[in-house]
Symmetry: C3
Subunit: 313 residues, 3 copies
Amino acid sequence: MKLKNPIKLASIAQQIGAEVIGDENATVTGINEIHKVEAGDLTFVNVEKYYKKALNSAATFVIINKKVEAPAGKSLLLHHDPFDAYNRLVAAYYPVHNAFSKTETISAETNIHPEATIYPHVVIGNHVSVGKGSIIFPNVVLYDNVHIGQNVIIHSGSIIGGQAFYYGKKNGEYIKWHSCGSVQIEDEVEIGSGCTIDKGVSGDTVIGRGTKLDNQVHVGHGVVIGKNCLFAAQCGIGGKTIIEDEVVCWGQVGITKDVRIGKGAVLSAQCGVSKSLPGGKAYYGSPARELKVVQKEMAALRNLPDFLKNKHM
Amino acid sequence: MKLKNPIKLASIAQQIGAEVIGDENATVTGINEIHKVEAGDLTFVNVEKYYKKALNSAATFVIINKKVEAPAGKSLLLHHDPFDAYNRLVAAYYPVHNAFSKTETISAETNIHPEATIYPHVVIGNHVSVGKGSIIFPNVVLYDNVHIGQNVIIHSGSIIGGQAFYYGKKNGEYIKWHSCGSVQIEDEVEIGSGCTIDKGVSGDTVIGRGTKLDNQVHVGHGVVIGKNCLFAAQCGIGGKTIIEDEVVCWGQVGITKDVRIGKGAVLSAQCGVSKSLPGGKAYYGSPARELKVVQKEMAALRNLPDFLKNKHM
Amino acid sequence: MKLKNPIKLASIAQQIGAEVIGDENATVTGINEIHKVEAGDLTFVNVEKYYKKALNSAATFVIINKKVEAPAGKSLLLHHDPFDAYNRLVAAYYPVHNAFSKTETISAETNIHPEATIYPHVVIGNHVSVGKGSIIFPNVVLYDNVHIGQNVIIHSGSIIGGQAFYYGKKNGEYIKWHSCGSVQIEDEVEIGSGCTIDKGVSGDTVIGRGTKLDNQVHVGHGVVIGKNCLFAAQCGIGGKTIIEDEVVCWGQVGITKDVRIGKGAVLSAQCGVSKSLPGGKAYYGSPARELKVVQKEMAALRNLPDFLKNKHM
């Protein structure tokens, strides 16, 4: 996320107790995890095997736990615990714990179109927009930084913009990454009852135009879903996965994190997707593979008991 | 659904811009999808292969996109886009978007027994009834047209009567069918926390007497569940499926749409049901098949690695 | 559960219409199901094959439907329907149906730390505590007898402390066991959006220190989860199962009731656990077995179609 007010690097170094390697007068304009960095952004790296990736990324500033030379045009912050330093900065500059008013159910800092319908017992956080013609049914919760287009329908009990399920591990305990991303729901989307759609850690979760979700669908942090997709009830999609346009997932499909499902793929009910899948094909099973391949194996398996029995006679 | 006030066919023809083939003075008494039609009903057909079914159905009136002769006792409405015409009629005569009051959490047009318990933060739409001795826990939402019998328990966060996940496809986009059905929860039913039970598109979703649902169970539009069934947590049932009496589904079972599960069938946890299953038997796996058949295949598969290894020696 | 005020056995006998075998002046100090009994407790048994277990249990008092001699130091209550008698006693002494105030969203009998954050539209029952630094997001419901430690985060729409999905069967109908247990959420736990965590029937459901649950996770009655475990979205855990420390379950894992998962076990997405599993290993599939065993079978199955084809040439 971009910072509301850019900050001098020296000021950040002081805040986290880091040593500057490079230009302490340079200006930081955003704080982002490595997957989402742009010029002006600060990111971090704490594992040797990712040093190169971080130092060569688009980020202008990197918090790092080893004294190395700053690449041209970049400055580094030397710190013994880069993740902790990064996380404290996110918490300071994107205070998610003030996501809701404690007294008002609809925060003052929202932008709700007069022709949108907000039913009773909806709770809305800061920096939320709802477009013309959209209908938000009772008991929906919109966390902060949720943006909803036109003619969107969100059914009762759905939770949009919850914090990412994303932790670092330290001394056997899970340390929460603070989420500062957003959720973007494009026009003509319909979301069923009891769905949960988390915000990105530092990027956006996107549901593309015209896509329809049935009840109890889970969409993880930073997932990007294309246009005119269909998700039947109880599907779950892991963090940062990309679903291209016109994908159809039948009931209870599970898709792991960090994969890509190609345009027009059709996933049978209860598919379990463990890797990226090309578009335009039908998939089946857990792990999900091409339907026709799985069908051949299932047919062979049906014959196996008799075959083995005859062999032993 | 039956219409509140029956309408002359001529009036409907004018409303949707259709040509009458037959008796324009005939009276339409209901509007229903083809699965649910009775005498006096209006339905539609837009695909050649279903013409015969629609014209021979119990419906007295059919919106159709080809000039054909009206069968005896029936009248037709000729229209270039029957689905769109039908859908506009449903939206006009069953205005689902007025399902809730915008200001009151419990609509004025409800019938709640004085000996029923409604806990805080429950939201109730129009034309809802709750019988004697029933308990509705906090944060439950009852959409319009939900009817709850006696001694029913509905746990927190469950959403009853949401709109069907049911779309027509037109030029690559999904067009929503308006739902005008209802949900009927019979006496002595218990529904866990976080369940979602959708209303029928034009018929009823029914949960039979004494049936118990655990948490996070999903029941699709128009599903009919018999008496004294048991559904463990996170089961999902697709639209219009019929579950006969005394069926037991263990956790995370998924059942596809439009099938029938026979009386007393027992489905193991995580079963995936892709077709109708006879009653009185135990089923296992995805796709779900008779337990004893699957067990034989699983036993054979366990021996397969060693068998193939020996063959290649 | 221990009784608020201990009761003379004679008084209970009169209340349920039972005959005392033993000391009618003895004092009952708790009422518990057989899995949880301690000295001073009353339990019941109604099936011949469990008589021995009940009579040899730690319980001091047993409701039984056969005239037998009382073991040393114990007294019996002879009753024709022990389950019904037991259940009526639980309903009388632990009145769960008064779990919430009908007018106040936060019950008077709670203990919420001044430094905890309770967002709007949270509903809280009686005898609930929330520790310092904990955050309860909008639309969460805490039933009675829920105890939440320090620095716990519970996301929107989660339901903690719902009643157990636990029934006796009598003449083909399911009779509800009244739940009188509690839920204990230890320090530093995070619970995602739309989760459901039921209370124990007569014991406690426990989520151990530092454990993290993603969205839409279901935890059944009386489940005990250890410290620093991770549950990805849409996992479900059956009643009274024990999960030791540092277990990781990826998305949509289902675990049956009454089993134990050993320390540090890792369950792949969509695993279906049907029996206890030793710790320190990776598991895969439904039924879940050791990953490396399943991988061998999957590899063999991939070769099976060609193998069988060649055999028939």
